[in-house]
């Protein structure tokens, strides 16, 4: 018997992702994003979250998916990593799911390199696969990618 973990799920392109709900601070839609020319790859820009400047992470470029500029439907999922707030830019926010590890499996080895690192594993749901993202690795990997 294992305890269930709550996941907040969302869509980016054709992929269905989840992160632990306990990591999520809040969700906000339609925030203006200021791009950062020459900034590291994967950073969409800065978001003003009630007076605090938050770095927005573009999940698409971070996972080396086809880039698409954020629009007013883009939703930011804010989470905290080592004391700093970040926003994950996603297309559609879906349900919160309670899942235990009976459906869990390690990440398939045929994922491309970038995704392999950031995806901790997969939950096999009845209709589709839920890819579990590690938000902390999303941040820690970025510095190395700086375009400088």
């Amino acid at each position: 018997m294992s305890t269930a973990i709550s996941y907040s799920t969302f869509w980016v392109g054709d992929f269905y992702f989840g992160i632990r709900t306990s990591d999520v601070v809040e969700l906000t839609k339609g925030l203006e994003i200021t791009p950062v020319p020459l900034g590291p790859i994967g950073i969409a820009g800065f978001i003003n979250l009630r007076g605090q400047i938050v770095t927005g992470i573009d999940v698409r470029t971070r996972l080396r998916m086809e880039a698409r500029p954020p629009n007013d439907k883009t939703i930011s999922i804010f989470f905290r990593n080592e004391g700093t707030l970040y926003g994950l830019l996603v297309d559609i926010v879906s349900d919160i799911l309670e899942l235990d590890d009976t459906t869990f499996e390690a990440a398939p080895s045929n994922l491309p390199g970038e995704a392999q690192e950031l995806i901790t594993g997969v939950h096999k749901l009845s209709t589709r696969l839920l890819l579990i993202l590690d938000p902390h690795k999303i941040i820690s990997g970025i510095d190395l990618l700086a375009r400088g």
Partner: protein, 775 residues
């Protein structure tokens, strides 16, 4: 040990100890000047005692021992059993230094470092007993390998004894202290606190963590943004209750914001407090007599900036004592007092903090500096002869430059002024030197706070960026014409000519990788001339937008590797704008290395003195928009009115002014970027009165500064900032010129045929033909 689990208590102790040391330093120096001040001795005694009490609580034996011996000596001084002599002062200062050293060790390692205090303890003991100092050194004989513990016992026993003797001398006062000592140390500390409280009678300040303050600051900024949204609702609402509530919230928010800013501010005395001791030590080392005078030590500036000015000030004072002030003998020969004076003066000026360090020494030896510069190959001998004094003084800022033949403990390593200028510039300040045979005055200008800084906004593609004003040199619209050469190529670097100077150019869109477009050959260029790392270069931008004060916000760790930005700010519309790090841009572009490789000689000619005519202007601020200038010709009177005297006539505000009813015009309504002054509930308003056909018109402004001489050439903003004709650089600031004729026309007053004469060049001239000034 006990303190392993008591990290927080230990931290508090360390903080307290540091405060005590700072106080001790200045008290000791004061004591030397007033040896009979019993109150001062009492203060020092109590400080030492508090330290001892706390250290025994943490079982810091060494600290306790040294503090105790010092305390014993002090108590004899306090009782009048001993008179203060130079050896005693030296011993006490050494005690304070030793204690500081031990505490420093504790703060690094959380443990008491080991060390040999026997000589010091013996000296203290000997002095306490009134013995001359020399034999005291032999009190504890034996090799240095002798176990430390033995010395401890000897000394402790002796000092306890001497302490008892004192108790017998004056039982009533010391009874409380000795009882307190016998009790657990916590209560001893409490007793001391009570005693301190009785003596000072000041309510104790509360210590708040910096993090909490920063959080509060953030919340207040948020509240200001919320208030702004609320205000726009209120203007469209007919509900009086609602609007008056909004007005109340508005005023409270403003107040809150101002108070909050104040929490970051700390008096400069926090840095200056250490200087009396520094001056004392340095002057003794140099065999000079120096007196330190501090004026304006209550001047406040941001705490982050306080750290930034500490080192520069130490270097300057060091230079003053070592180089500037002469020996007492030569001072007397020169007809000066034998004691030299260093005056520290600080004040607020134009939103900056000015710190002046003046000494009455011999001044900078300019021929010597010039000779050294030639010796070091910095300049050829014949060129050195042509240089002005000012240009020669500039050499002392170079790293490694020193006029001292011998490197001493104090100076001569040639790092001093280099450090001064680098540090001061890094916090957005500037350094000025005036020197002569009667002394040297060094003037530091420091911004009040780093968190808020003026910046000019530029557009590149569809993004807005901020350039910090302290990097800003000039803004130019460059239009190639027959008599104005266009861009030229200089060893692969595009350059343009700015008054006989070649300025290398960077195209911002290409530097940022936003686009690769090159401007067409004859297209006008908007060039922001900036200065970084001592080079001037031009940034070509799509548009120069406006100047605004920006609040620097932290941007998180991910931008560390992106060197072209120093931070970000939130604009009035809630969007984020990036702030450039100009030096970062210069380095990244490779411009810096190109310039160094090619020995790029930027001067074509020695720049001639500016022949641009100057005109008198009055400088004032509007809310959110500072340093605006109006030609003095338009200023007839300056007035302050109580807000209660202002009446409303329909949409207009008027005031009874002599025999006239004067219309009050809020300039912020006509100037883009300024905020409404009425919203701020000021009790008095500053008004610039302008007479038109015998009728007074009052322009309401936030604050009036002074009259300046401004160049009559302005740099036009593109697009035009509503109400502003253009900008000019005066001194180190950009000022905006009010488009007064336009505003007069808008309020239905024709400027009777007076127009700003348009100049055919890219920099139109701002001339006002008439003059009738009765200030």
């Amino acid at each position: 040990m006990a303190f392993d689990t008591n990290d927080q208590i230990l931290d508090e102790f360390l903080e307290e100890a540091r405060e005590i040391f700072d106080q001790l330093d200045s008290d000791f120096v004061r004591l030397e000047q007033n040896p009979d001040d019993k109150k001062l001795v009492g203060n020092i005694f109590r400080a030492m005692h508090t330290l001892k009490g706390s250290s025994s609580f943490f079982a810091f034996r060494r600290l306790e021992k040294v503090a105790h011996s010092g305390e014993s000596l002090l108590s004899r001084l306090r009782d009048g059993g001993l008179a203060l002599t130079a050896p005693i002062t030296d011993a006490l200062l050494e005690t304070a230094d030793r204690l500081r050293e031990i505490v420093h060790g504790i703060s690094e390692t959380r443990l008491e470092i080991e060390g040999d205090d026997r000589t010091l303890l013996a000296t203290l003991k000997a002095l306490t007993e009134g013995a001359p100092i020399e034999p005291a050194l032999d009190v504890i004989p034996g090799p240095h390998t002798e176990p430390d513990i033995e010395a401890v016992i000897t000394v402790t026993k002796d000092t306890v004894k001497s302490h008892d003797q004192i108790l017998l001398d004056k039982p009533p006062i010391h009874a409380t202290v000795s009882v307190a000592e016998a009790e657990p140390m916590v209560s001893a500390a409490e007793t001391m606190l009570k005693e301190n409280a009785r003596n000072t009678d000041i309510s104790a300040p509360v210590k708040v963590s910096v993090e909490l303050l920063d959080n509060l600051m953030n919340l207040v900024s948020e509240m200001v943004l919320g208030r702004n949204r609320l205000l726009s609702f209120a203007t469209h609402s007919g509900d009086m209750n609602f609007t008056s509530t909004v007005r109340t919230i508005d005023m409270i928010t403003l107040e809150l914001q101002e108070r909050m800013m104040k929490t970051r501010m700390q008096p400069i005395s926090q840095v200056w407090g250490k200087f009396p001791r520094l001056v004392r030590d340095l002057s003794q080392e140099c065999d000079k007599k120096v007196e330190l005078i501090q004026i304006g030590s209550e001047t406040e500036l941001d705490r982050t900036l306080l750290d930034g000015i500490r080192d520069p000030l130490v270097h300057i004072i060091r230079n003053s004592i070592d180089h500037g002030i002469e020996t007492p003998q030569s001072r007397l020969e020169l007809g000066k007092k034998d004691t030299g004076t260093i005056t520290l003066r600080s004040m607020h000026e134009n939103g900056m903090v000015v710190i002046e360090i003046t000494d009455d020494g011999g001044g900078i030896n300019i021929p010597l500096v010039a000779r050294k510069a030639v010796e070091k190959g910095l300049v050829s001998a014949e060129r050195a002869n042509k240089l002005s004094d000012r240009e020669i003084i500039d050499f002392i800022y170079l790293p490694g430059f020193s006029t001292k033949e011998v490197i001493t403990n104090l100076s001569g390593r040639g790092v001093g002024m280099d450090v001064v200028r680098t540090n001061v510039q890094s916090i957005g300040g500037s350094v000025d030197i005036a020197t002569g045979s009667q002394g040297t005055k060094i003037r530091l200008r420091i911004p009040l706070t780093l968190a808020i800084m003026p910046a000019v906004f530029v557009r590149c593609q569809n993004q807005r960026f901020a350039i910090p004003q302290n990097n800003l040199f000039e803004m130019v619209r460059h239009q190639p014409r027959d008599d104005v050469p266009g861009l030229e190529d200089f060893y692969g670097v595009p350059v343009f000519r700015l008054r006989n100077k070649l300025i290398p150019l960077l195209f911002l869109n290409r530097e940022l990788g936003l686009s690769n477009d090159a401007p067409s050959h004859n297209a006008p260029l908007n060039i922001v001339v900036v200065q970084a790392a001592d080079i001037l270069f031009g940034l070509v931008v799509d548009e120069v937008l406006y100047m605004q004060e920006v609040v620097l916000k932290p941007v998180g760790p991910l931008l560390k590797s992106t060197t072209v930005y120093s931070g970000a700010t939130i604009l009035g519309d809630g969007r984020v704008a990036l702030i450039f790090d100009i030096a970062g841009i210069a380095i990244r572009s490779g411009l810096l290395s190109k310039l160094i490789d090619k020995k790029f000689e930027v001067d074509i000619d020695t720049p001639t003195e500016s022949s641009v005519p100057l005109q008198q202007m009055l400088l004032f601020d509007l809310v959110d928009l500072e340093r605006i200038a109006i030609p003095l010709d338009y200023v007839d009177r300056l007035e302050m009115f109580s807000a209660s005297r202002i009446e409303r006539r329909g949409s207009q505000r008027v005031i009874v002014y002599g025999e006239h009813i004067m219309r009050l015009i809020s300039l912020s309504d006509f100037v883009e970027g300024a905020s409404e002054i009425w919203a701020y509930g000021e009790e008095t308003v500053s008004v610039i009165v302008h007479y038109h056909d015998g009728q007074p018109i009052g322009f309401v402004v936030k604050q009036i500064h002074d009259i300046i001489s401004a160049p009559s050439e302005v740099i036009i903003n593109t697009p035009r900032q509503r109400g502003i004709l253009g900008n000019a650089i005066v001194g180190e600031h950009a000022i905006s010129f009010l488009n007064i004729n336009d505003i007069l026309a808008q309020i239905g007053i024709e400027a009777s045929g007076e127009h700003y004469a348009g100049h055919p060049s890219a920099s139109p001239t701002y001339t006002i033909p008439h003059s009738r000034t009765t200030l």
